[in-house]
């Protein structure tokens, strides 16, 4: 894929994914298995109001999203991908009031799995807020069609429907807006 195609995918991932759009993710650089993204600081994404530090969960979302774009940037053709696992070490609190960046590198790809490393930082990737190591499944859709998740999975596995002794109030999860 060309750099323009990678940028188009990154833009689609930032604007088409409601969570990424809500957080204001922006791709600064993409190509050759590397992606650099930015999340602008705002009060709504703080984790500890006493310190004003961005929530660890936002860092998780940023790192996951950035790792995913690095995988797309390493692939010859676009395909569905899914995070298998994500390990994050938090080195220090993010500086309150500052935008946060993440840089991810997809350093190895097999036929079915992509391996990615990433860091989150304000200015210097060598002085990270957090570091991540992730594995992604490639071609994860396995032929699933758009809207597939509205239906229950075909094989429900070993579920026994174990009684938990309290009503957990299952949501009907209605949503029609898949923009």
């Amino acid at each position: 894929m060309t750099d323009e195609e990678h940028r188009a995918i990154a833009q689609a991932m930032n604007e088409g994914s409601p969570q990424a759009r809500a957080l204001g993710f922006e791709t600064l650089e993409i190509g050759h298995g590397v992606a650099i993204l930015k999340v602008p600081y705002r009060p709504e994404i703080v984790g500890d109001p006493e310190t004003g530090v961005i929530a660890g969960g936002v860092v998780t979302t940023l790192l996951d999203h950035t790792c995913g774009q690095a995988v797309h940037a390493a692939q010859a053709e676009w395909g569905f991908i899914a995070t298998l696992d994500l390990r994050i070490d938090y080195m220090r609190p993010a500086e309150p009031g500052r935008d946060l960046k993440a840089r991810a590198h997809c350093y190895k790809m097999t036929r079915s799995i992509a391996f990615v490393r990433a860091v989150a930082y304000e200015d210097d990737p060598e002085d990270p807020v957090a570091a991540a190591q992730a594995a992604f499944m490639l071609d994860s859709s396995a032929g699933r069609k758009p809207g597939a998740n509205f239906k229950p999975p075909k094989s429900t596995g070993r579920a026994t429907g174990r009684a938990t002794g309290q009503s957990t109030g299952q949501s009907t999860g209605k949503t029609g807006d898949a923009a």
Partner: protein, 143 residues
């Protein structure tokens, strides 16, 4: 658990209400005795893949991390939030457009470090969609 359940529920509500990002994605929690279930209602804003659609993996990770922090907050009163040292997240199934639940199990609380395991599920508890293991740095209220 030294406090009465009501106090614990109030403390739990206060903890979640004080985390802006928890409000942003809509996390709440329910206590049944000493057992806490965190609840993430489905909303469009938490979607990562709009085509399937599937909940963003980062949101699921964030939800489970908050579940661990909330569980620690009801386990013992802390002066301020525990700091996350590391988390390891496993994604087992895609998050469908349904309510997601999570429960945390505190495996060990030492003087400074707590180890917590969290599991998230949707329709069936036996079919978790994601799991998290994490270490948290504690600052007790006495310090």
């Amino acid at each position: 658990m030294s406090d009465a359940p009501m106090n614990a529920q109030d403390r739990l509500n206060a903890v979640l209400a004080s985390i802006p990002y928890a409000r942003f994605i809509g996390v709440r929690a329910e206590l049944a005795g000493d057992e806490m279930t965190a609840v993430l209602p489905f909303s469009d804003v938490i979607v990562g893949n709009p085509i399937l659609p599937a909940i963003h993996g980062g949101v699921l990770g964030a939800f489970m991390e908050m579940t661990a922090l909330a569980q620690l907050s009801i386990f013992e009163p802390l002066k301020r939030q525990p700091r996350t040292i590391d988390v390891s997240i496993e994604y087992l199934r895609s998050g469908r457009p349904l309510t997601t639940f999570a429960r945390a199990e505190i495996k060990k609380v030492g003087r400074r470090i707590a180890n917590v395991h969290v599991e998230a599920w949707q329709e069936q508890r036996a079919n978790p969609i994601a799991a998290l293991r994490g270490h948290f740095l504690l600052t007790s209220a006495e310090d």
